[in-house]
Structure formats: C-alpha cells, structure tokens
C-alpha cells in the first residue's frame, strides 16, 4: 500500500471537508475505522454487530488495517485487545448484548490498565427471554467500569463519535477505553445521509511514547516493569496504592471533559433550554424526542430537549444547571431499568420533578406520538396543565 496521508484528529474532526453519503450505521462506522488508521482488530460474530466485523475484514484485506482475526469468544477477544493495546498499538473491536456481558471481566480491567481501546457496542436485549432487538440496557452494566461511554443517536454520530473516541481516548492525560454505544439495529441498520471526511486522509499513527503507562514491548523504560502489577499487601505495600490507582482512573475520565468540549462541542446538545419542560434523552431515544418536542410544541406545550451524548464522564454539573429552572424533566429510554433517569435524579436538586418514561424496550419502537402522549399525562399529574 502506498504512503498514507495522515492528519491530526483536530483537523479530521473539526476542519476536514465533508461529503454526503447514504449509509447504514455499520457502514458509517467502517468509514470511521478506515480513517482511524487502526493497527489491530479482533472480532467475534454476534447480531447486530457482525456487519462491522465483516467490514473490518474487508478493510484488513485491502490493507487499511494491519492485523485482523476472529477470536474464540467475546471474553477472549477483549483479552486479546488488552494484549494488543498493552503493546502500544491502535486497536478496535465491537460487540453486542450477550457478548458485552460475556466480556465484563476484561471490560472491568481495561480502564485500570489505561488502554485506549475504542469499542462500539450495538446494544440489544440481554438475558431471558432472548432478544436481538435494540435496547440500551447494556450501558447500565458498563457505567462503573471506568470506561468513557458515548451514546450514539444516528449513523452520523457513529462516524463522528468513533473518530472523537480515538482522539479523546489517546490523550496522554486521559488514555482510557471508550465505548461508543448505539441502540442496535436502530442505528446499525438504518440508512441515512452521513457526512464523512475524505477517504484518503487518515489519523496520525498512535504513539505509545505519550502513554501515561509504559508500553509492554521491552523497548519502553523501565525494563523491570510489571505492567498492571498486583497492588496488594503481599507485595509489602499499602492498600493506599490500589485505592490511589482507582482514583487516578476516575480522574483520567474526568480529564476527558476538557477534550469532550473541544472535540464534541460538549457532552450535551440542548434545544430550547428555557422551556418549562425538558425531555432529557440519549441515543435513539433522543432521536424520537426531537420529533416529539416539535409535535408537543404544535400542541402548545412549552418543551425543550437535552441530548446527552456522553454518559461517562456524566455531565452532572451541566445537567444540574439546566434543571434549575425547569418544572418537569421527562426521561424516555429504550430500556426497562431507566438508568438514565436514575443518573439524572442523582444530580438534580428537587429531583421529584424528574420522571422516568416512556420506557420502551425489547425492540419495541418508541413512536414520538407515545412520548407526547405520556408527556401530556405527566403534565396533568404534575398539575402543570389541565
């Protein structure tokens, strides 16, 4: 393959020209992976994630990805990613639903190892009854793994947020894994116009010398190096080191906020913030909410919306500020748990005004009409409207 033209993430994300293409979410994601100049990809099939793995195989066959193989299962794919990322190369993988849960042990380790792996997850049902349909329940399991989590609304977000994920994951002061989460089929298989950057411009290669921990390659110092050693008392040390390590991982995630502002224009997108009612949503629920607020406004309801792009680090201060003057906050979600409502309730003063719902899950569609209907009922309940 001929010499690649490489560019900075700042240029690619913020300045590069864009071309419109009619793509499904998985194709948009593959275009991002191609531009991200990825070294090692390990994959495993699961619906609805498999297509991106196929597309990565094509990218490898065409020379855009340097190493690629199908692993034995998600637990070990994610362990292989740990190996590859520890060596100090740029990595990519993806999974879905039961795969996410199978991989929970390595997922709980990635952040502590300070590995800048980018891993999209195409959310689907987990547990029994079995279900391959879109669902955002998996984020609930991932919230406290120390990883950064973005929630994708559309194929366009999938392209943008994947590149933003690499830019932010690899900052020396952050250097953490990023989960780019979408609600399964709603994004992966929906075809829309996506604006993408030129396909002959690639991100600069990853430089492991900027890592906050030494690369595991017997080139970086110190040669006497136990990467991610057991920091426990049988090595004659205080538990304080273990605690301090854990704090540092969360601190690194907090440092990402500055980069999120720069590369993503902040963790939130706000429409009509002065309205008396706000719908707060993430992922495809935000897409449905956009349509719902227009419908509700036509019916004379003073409503705005907040799309929460970044779930971790959670934009607590920003949400608390927005919630101050609002009379009612409604949180529609594509899952049974209502984890986003819980997150919002935890950071908002007077949180009795935060209502979870509609909660639609197991692949059921959430028509905007349903959101409007539930909003009207809530307004009555909150006596804001007769």
């Amino acid at each position: 393959m001929k010499e690649k033209k490489t560019v900075s993430p700042e240029y690619m994300i913020l300045e590069a020209p864009r071309e419109k293409k009619f793509l499904i979410g998985n194709e948009a994601l593959a275009e991002a992976v191609k531009r991200a100049n990825v070294d090692v990809v390990v994959v495993y099939p699961i619906t609805p994630q498999s297509e991106i793995s196929h597309l990565c195989g094509d990218l490898w066959a065409a020379g855009y990805i340097k190493e690629y193989y199908r692993g034995e299962d998600e637990l070990h794919v994610m362990a292989s990613m740990m190996g590859a990322a520890s060596a100090g190369v740029r990595t990519f993988t993806a999974t879905s639903g039961p795969g996410t849960l199978r991989a929970m042990e390595p997922f709980s380790c990635w952040a502590g190892y300070r590995l800048p792996i980018v891993c999209p997850i195409m959310g689907r049902g987990v547990g029994t009854p079995a279900n391959i349909q879109p669902d955002s329940v998996e984020i609930f399991y991932l919230l406290e793994t120390g990883m950064i989590i973005f929630h994708v609304e559309s194929p366009q977000d999938f392209f943008d947020m994947t590149l933003q994920a690499y830019a932010i994951a690899e900052q020396p002061d952050v250097h953490l894994p990023v989960i780019v989460f979408c609600d399964g089929f709603f994004v992966t298989h929906t075809r829309e116009i996506v604006e993408i950057t030129p396909d002959d411009e690639f991100l600069h290669p990853y430089d492991s010398n900027l890592s906050p921990v030494p690369a595991m390659d017997m080139e970086a110092v110190p040669v006497r190096m136990a990467r991610d050693c057991l920091v426990i008392k049988n090595n004659f040390i205080s538990y304080n080191a273990n605690a301090s390590w854990q704090q540092e991982v969360r601190a690194a995630r907090d440092r990402a906020r500055k980069h999120i502002d720069r590369f993503m224009g902040g963790p939130l997108e706000v429409i009509n913030p002065d309205a008396e009612v706000l719908i707060m949503a993430s992922g495809s629920a935000a897409a449905q909410a956009r349509v719902a607020i227009e419908m509700a406004q036509e019916e004379g309801i003073d409503v705005g919306m907040v799309k929460i792009k970044v779930i971790r680090p959670f934009p607590a201060a920003e949400i608390a500020r927005l919630a101050e003057k609002v009379k009612l906050i409604m949180v529609p979600e594509f899952n049974f748990i209502g984890w986003l409502a819980k997150e919002i309730k935890a950071v908002v003063n007077n949180n009795a005004k935060v209502f979870s719902g509609p909660n639609v899950f197991a692949g059921m569609t959430m028509p905007p009409e349903v959101i409007v209907d539930e909003l009207k009922k809530l307004l009555k309940l909150a006596k804001l409207r007769r």
Binding site: D39, V40, V77, S86, A87, D217, L230
Partner: protein, 293 residues
C-alpha cells in the same frame, strides 16, 4: 540495549540491585541454566513458599530465555502471578484464564509494531489456568498457530487460592474441593496440545535443569519460526499436598518418568538445523541433557 543503561550522571544514585542488573544482568548475553550463580538473575526475592519447586522452575525458565532483552511474559492468577512484579522484564497479569488470548493480541501487535524484530512472548499459567478456566483460549491460540510459547507450571492443584483440585490433579487426591478424593483422572494435556496443532510439545521437571533449559529454548525458537509450542513443567504444591520441601522435590523427581518431547517434522528439522550450525545459540545440546545429575 539502551533501556538497561543508566543515564550518565545517575549511575551512583541508583540502588545496588539496579547497578547489578546493568553490569551483570543476562540481557544480550546468551546465558543459560548452567550459568546460574554467575549473573544477576531476572527474578528477585519473592513472596512464594520457601523450597517451592514451581518457583524453582520459574527461575530456571527465566535463566533459559534465548533473548531476555526481547522477551515478554503474560501471567494470570496463580502463585507465579503474585511474583510477576519481581521479574526484570516486561510482564503483566491477564484476567484469569485469558493468558493465551492476551498473548495472542500482544504478539500480533508487537509484530505490527516491530516487523523486523523477534519479540518472544511467553504465556505462563498454572495447571488450572490452562486446563480448566483457560482451556478455550489455549486451544484456540494453538489452532490459530499463534507464535508464542505456552508454559504450564503444573503443581497439580489450585495453590494460590488455598489448595483445590484442578483438571490436572491426579485421580483420588483429596483437596479442598475434592474432599472424598478427585473422581476423575488427570487430563492428558500434552495430547490436547498436539491435537490443537502445537509444533513442539514437551514435559519437563525442575529436577533436570539443563534439560528443562534446553526445552525452553527449543520451545521459544520454534514458536518464533515454526508454530506454537507448549511445555508442561511437572512440579507439586508442597504446601497444599502437605509435603516438606525435600519430599516436594522428591515427588517432582518422581515425575522424571513423564519427561518427553514431541516435534512436528518441520520443527524437528528446524531445531536440528540450528543446533548443528551453532551450538552456541544456546542449544549446546545433545550433550548434557542425558548426562545430567
């Protein structure tokens, strides 16, 4: 190797052990088990049981590396996992049982990062790590032909967790999860390795150090050039088998009857080629191995 040279001016403030590592370490010197006692070893004082034959094996493995300056070790939960911080190489600990998957990713990434260099990766786990919790990734890394060496430190039980039976515990042994004696036989793991496509499979004991060293070198060189290699080092957990160190050593000695080597034809030709050509590449072999003791 610049990574083990002290920056000018800082030599005198470095603690003695680091100065020793620089002046007398094994990097780039092609040392072997028979040189033990003449150089600063890659393993420091560690927290494992005194007189442990597994630890002795680990020490011999480290002394036998053909290129320690380019060797990386992936461990997982187990006694040797506890001592990985005491090794003067790049080491890590993978989630339990995932060592061979971790090593697959590591080795492939190193090949991408340094296409012109040999980086020897060793996945090291215990009998439980390989035969129970890590069986799937072990088998698959071999069937994919991953180019690294797997070393099983077989002490016939889960020792670090307090003495439970593993797939490699012999039938009838009563341990903490087999109170009435283990009901099924020890797994023929060498057969698994052959079946999965290892180019080199061997069983060693720490009671034959030079032979063990020869096997380690062969395994590493074969995994570099030919295909995956596997060595089981037969030891015993003296603590959980309630043996004195001497009895533990003697039990390991009893395993000498299990010593064997298997090569694919390609691996055999390759090893014969280099051992003939350059006995000094560490493969000062053919001699010594049989004449030990």
């Amino acid at each position: 190797m610049d990574a083990v040279k002290i920056a000018p001016g800082f030599e005198k403030i470095m603690p003695q052990e680091y100065q020793d590592l620089v002046s007398d370490g094994p990097y780039g010197r092609n040392l072997s088990v028979k040189d033990l006692g003449t150089f600063k070893e890659l393993i420091d004082e560690h927290p494992l049981c005194a007189g442990c034959t597994l630890t002795l094996s680990f020490r011999m493995v480290l002394a036998s590396l053909p290129n320690p300056e380019n060797t990386l070790i992936v461990t997982c939960a187990g006694c040797f996992g506890v001592i990985h911080p005491q090794i003067s190489l790049h080491c890590t600990i993978a989630p339990f049982g995932t060592h061979n998957a971790f090593a697959s990713g590591l080795k492939r990434a190193l090949k991408v990062k340094f296409p012109d260099k040999n980086k020897d990766v060793i996945a090291m786990a215990g009998d439980g790590g390989f035969s129970d919790i890590g069986l799937a990734p072990t088998f698959h890394s071999w069937s994919r032909g991953e180019r690294f060496t797997s070393i099983m430190l077989d002490n016939e039980c889960y020792a670090n967790t307090g003495g439970q039976d593993s797939g490699m515990t012999p039938e009838g042994v009563a341990l903490n999860m087999s109170p009435l004696g283990k009901k099924f036989p020890k797994i023929e793991f060498a057969q698994v390795a052959k079946l999965a496509g290892c180019a080199y499979v061997a069983t060693a004991t720490p009671t034959k150090p030079r032979l063990l060293g020869q096997m380690i070198r062969r395994a590493i060189l074969i995994s570099r050039e030919i295909g995956p290699s596997f060595i089981r080092i037969a030891t015993v957990c003296q603590t959980n088998y309630k043996l004195s160190p001497i009895d533990g050593y003697n039990r390991a000695k009893g395993f000498e009857s299990q010593i064997f080597e298997y090569f694919t034809q390609e691996a055999q030709e390759y090893i014969e080629g280099i051992e003939k050509k350059s006995p000094k590449t560490g493969l000062n072999l053919g001699v010594g191995a049989e004449n030990e003791d």
